[in-house]
């Protein structure tokens, strides 16, 4: 496996994923939340490509391409929502959005 052993890539992907996940949970800024999600996307892409190289099949590439496309779409819509919700507020804090309460 070029560069590192396969396990190295896998573990790296897992770590990046968990870092992103913790970021979603811990940070209260909506922007940082979105970015953490992007981190998770990236980790998933790494995983796909690793296995694609392992099996020598191009299907993993196609999937990564989809990740990019979906990630872009999601970022766009998410940012639009953030702009809408927090434009008029003093602070941008996710915890302030509690309409689902109860």
């Amino acid at each position: 496996m070029p560069g590192m052993a396969v396990q190295g890539y896998l573990v790296l992907s897992a770590v990046l994923f968990v870092i992103g996940l913790v970021g979603v949970l811990v940070r209260r800024s909506p922007l940082v939340t979105l970015m953490s999600i992007e981190l998770m996307w990236g980790a998933a892409a790494l995983l796909f490509l690793t296995f694609s190289r392992l099996w020598a099949a191009m299907d993993g590439h196609v999937f990564t391409f989809m990740i990019v496309a979906v990630g872009a779409a999601e970022a766009a819509v998410g940012l639009a929502l953030i702009v809408l919700i927090f434009r008029s507020r003093d602070k941008a804090d996710v915890d302030d959005v509690r309409a689902l309460r109860g």
Binding site: V18, E38, I82
Partner: protein, 168 residues
């Protein structure tokens, strides 16, 4: 064992941590860009040249720029956007703990598997041609759906943001 790859891995890791821990959103964005670039290096190391370049051009180039726009739209005037203290008690420790748990689970799962040796890559693996062949021969349907998804996203954003001009 390539040194470049190891360095790229380390950079990706540190940059990810920086994204999550940085109090200033702009710095988070920049850290994320760094992370994406490091990942691109890794992609290229994995013979996925096309994907690595797509990552840089599309992701780091376009999506991150979008992020920067919004960051500046929302909080350019302020240093920190969040409230001082969290409203939810114990969220941080619990979040870290849960994440740790998941990490252990994932790593355990990954390392227990006995993986076969990587197969030999043919010439042209990872090139645009190979990618295009796979995309259009094997995964046309996924392509169409992705296109539809992007269309929906564009329309959705326009619907969300556009203000009706009164009087016009």
């Amino acid at each position: 064992m390539s040194v470049v790859v190891l360095i790229a891995a380390a950079v990706a890791l540190l940059a990810a941590v920086a994204v999550v821990r940085s109090p200033v959103p702009v710095r988070s964005v920049l850290a994320l860009v760094l992370n994406l670039v490091a990942l691109a290096v890794l992609f290229i190391a994995l013979n996925a040249e096309f994907m690595g370049l797509v990552q840089i051009i599309v992701y780091a180039g376009a999506v991150m720029v979008m992020f920067l726009f919004v960051v500046s739209l929302l909080g350019a005037r302020r240093e920190a956007i969040e409230r001082e203290t969290s409203l939810l008690a114990g969220q941080e420790p619990l979040g870290v703990a849960a994440g740790g748990l998941l990490l252990i689970a994932l790593v355990l799962g990954m390392l227990r598997q006995a993986l076969p040796e990587p197969q030999a890559v043919y010439d042209g693996f990872g090139t645009v041609r190979a990618f295009g062949a796979s995309l259009f021969y094997d995964h046309v349907f996924a392509l169409q759906l992705a296109a539809l998804l992007l269309l929906v996203a564009v329309v959705g954003v326009v619907v969300l943001i556009a203000r009706r001009d009164p009087g016009r």
